[in-house]
Symmetry: C2
Subunit: 423 residues, 2 copies
């Protein structure tokens, strides 16, 4: 191993029974990774003092630092402090600062501290408290022989709030490289496509920059990582190469979501949008409305699953439905024109498809979809085939619909990569 590694010890019966999916360790690893700190091993045990103690003893011997997550709560099951006191041969003593914290926490909730609450003020003698701005359980730092042990609560929001303090403790103990990471959110391009494309300009790619991926649904996150702040110009260089090559797929930095980006573009252009949804059943509109501030950009949406709804709500002609079927170019075209007219929106999208598992024909198999998007004067249509489960189909199509409106508004290629395969 090149860099000193940290171990993670998670505790909780709910993690062993399968009742809870552990997302805390990914949160910790991502944050530590951004600071050049690597996790070498994760170990998870239930709320059993023997198992917890033997796991911590082993990890403390093998690693320069161990983060313990969970087991700091007020109940009898919460054993972390006790186990550490045993391992360090100290007593659990009431810490005045911790006591004040618990009392304040209760006072804010207008409750009297009970014995269970007050148990949280007892920590191993000689430890250093780690402040918890949200919850009653404080974390602490303590040395177990040569190993720095940091304790943290299992509640994800509380853990998140304490991460900066953890990083400070860890950097003091094991160094860390102060890596600088730039995250880019993309849509409509896959990991292997990005890798293939980059090969073409590998000679111009700055050496200091490592490219990483995190596949989300439906977005793909790219991570441009450099060893230190001195290499930030190389990071900029790499970013410029990516933007030149497939900038139309880049939604933004940080954690930008597709709907968030589309809302920003609409606001900038002072425009509103509408939706006419058959197979996605309101999902496209709900993705927009999930973002704060959506009232300024989406006032009306139509869920027209049935033919009757397409006629009554959007004015699609009965003859069009009869001649071409509900999943057809003429129908999505009329759906969009109807939605634009009736909502008064500037731009919109209409979608009709066969989400499955039933309803497919030889001519139009499950996964077939027709999309119309744009404005009254610049209306475009496309058909594609998406394989996968019903919900996967709906999620991919809904995301693509938002992206098509964004591309239309930003005057980017209208048939992006993810459609060209089927074009």
């Amino acid at each position: 191993m090149e860099t000193p590694c940290i171990a993670l010890l998670l505790t909780g019966n709910e993690l062993m029974s399968g009742d809870t999916v552990d997302s805390n360790s990914a949160m910790i690893a991502t944050c530590l990774g951004d600071h050049g700190l690597e996790i070498g091993e994760k170990c998870t045990v239930g709320d059993d003092p023997t198992l917890l103690q033997s796991a911590l003893a082993r990890l403390a011997q093998q690693y320069p630092a161990v983060i313990v997550n969970g087991g700091l709560g007020p109940t009898r099951d919460d054993l972390t402090s006790e186990v550490i006191a045993t391992l360090t041969d100290t007593e659990l003593t009431e810490n005045p600062e911790a006591r004040a914290h618990v009392e304040n926490w209760c006072a804010r909730r207008r409750i009297e501290p009970n014995p269970a609450n007050l148990k949280q003020a007892f920590v191993p003698a000689g430890c250093q408290l780690i402040h918890n701005p949200l919850g009653s359980a404080l974390g602490f730092a303590i040395n177990v022989k040569d190993c720095l042990v940091l304790t943290t609560p299992g509640v994800p929001s509380e853990l998140e709030a304490m991460l900066p303090a953890l990083v400070t403790h860890l950097e003091a103990q094991v160094g860390g490289e102060a890596r600088q990471i730039l995250r880019l959110q993309t849509f409509g391009i896959g990991e292997s496509s990005v890798e293939e494309r980059i090969k073409k300009y590998a000679d111009r790619w700055p050496n200091a920059v490592t490219l990483g991926f995190r596949a989300g649904m439906p977005q793909l996150e790219l991570k441009l990582s450099v060893p230190s702040a001195a290499h930030l110009p190389a990071q900029e260089e790499a970013l410029a190469l990516l933007e030149e090559d497939f900038g139309d797929h880049i939604l933004g930095k940080g954690s930008t979501r597709l709907a968030e980006k589309l809302q920003a573009v609409l606001r900038n252009q002072n425009k509103t949008m509408t939706t006419a949804e058959s197979c996605t059943g309101g999902l496209i509109a709900s993705m927009m409305v999930r973002e704060p501030g959506s009232s300024a950009v989406l006032g009306t949406g139509f869920v027209t699953y049935a033919n009757r709804a397409k006629r009554d709500q959007l004015g699609v002609a009965s003859t069009t439905l009869k001649e071409h079927g509900a999943v057809s170019e003429p129908v999505v075209r009329e759906m969009l024109l109807g939605a634009l007219e009736r909502s008064g929106a500037d731009i919109g999208v209409a979608v009709s498809g066969i989400a499955g598992p039933g309803g497919g024909t030889e001519d139009k198999p499950v996964g077939t979809v027709w999309i119309a998007w744009g404005t009254r004067d610049d209306l475009r249509t496309h058909t594609t085939l998406v394989s996968g489960s019903r919900s996967l189909f709906q999620n991919i199509i809904a995301a693509a619909c938002l992206d098509l409106i964004r591309r239309h508004l930003q005057e980017l290629p209208s048939l992006p990569h993810y459609f060209s395969r089927q074009a």
Copy 2:
């Protein structure tokens, strides 16, 4: 420990970096738990042969069985077979059955097997193959000293398909109690409420039945667990007690979703529904449309975020909006009447609220919501206040709206527990 415990060893760099949240171990634990098999420790390491080997050697010494998940793929990073061969002092040899499996897998995809594919046919001599019905990577069972080691692929769908075979191997090695678990899906009742209620008839609760919980969003799963099939009558007894006490909150057995249950009730009564959504922006409709077969029960939905949409699409009077504001009883009432009339649906729900973070007033703070539900002749309304983030607000309200329609159709108490607190 009363029951012999199993260890789980997960491998993959993506699990250490935080790029992937591990849901496999929860899937394995849930399945094993249903068969009375318990996991004592989970250990996760990256794709590093030294770390993987030392972790497996340690676990094989401590536990009667170890499941290894991941590292069976075709790439150089996939080290599980190699590490096990080293530990058992055997050679990796080509297994004819495994070779045929890989060739068939490639043939179905109309690709020529490449060296990477064919690497997967090499397994430790003397192991027993575990069939993978979906992917190219086969699992295997092998003894490392006295410990049974089972290897499984990291792809969740492939792992899932192999779980029954794993259970068979484990039951042969460590026994298992053949526990019988009945899962119930509920909505609108919390873990602590259930526990409080059960206390009242604790004297009638059958001893053999253990009650467990799994909190989902928005549902709560109850698990009625008995040690063996001989205790199934006790399980039935416990179920009867719960049904008598809060049967209106029980959606169904297994994994029944709220929308799935509502669809079944609508189908049984041969009725259709509609939605008129402001603050949820299409989420209610999309929850229904996510379920296969939704076309029979939901033909039309309305997303009327703007006042103009409420007027134009639903016929809400301008004076009503002006006098009472968009978040008010008269407005949701008119929204629902308009939606029922224009869609021709039998029953429906209308919702208008302040999802936040902006838009709240002293009179109507963020989280305020008005709901109207029912039919033209039996229309009910209610207001409540939901605190939490924008998306939490939207998810809870959308679920409650589906539940209110279900309760109306099933003639259950119309103001359930989750509203009575605010009523």
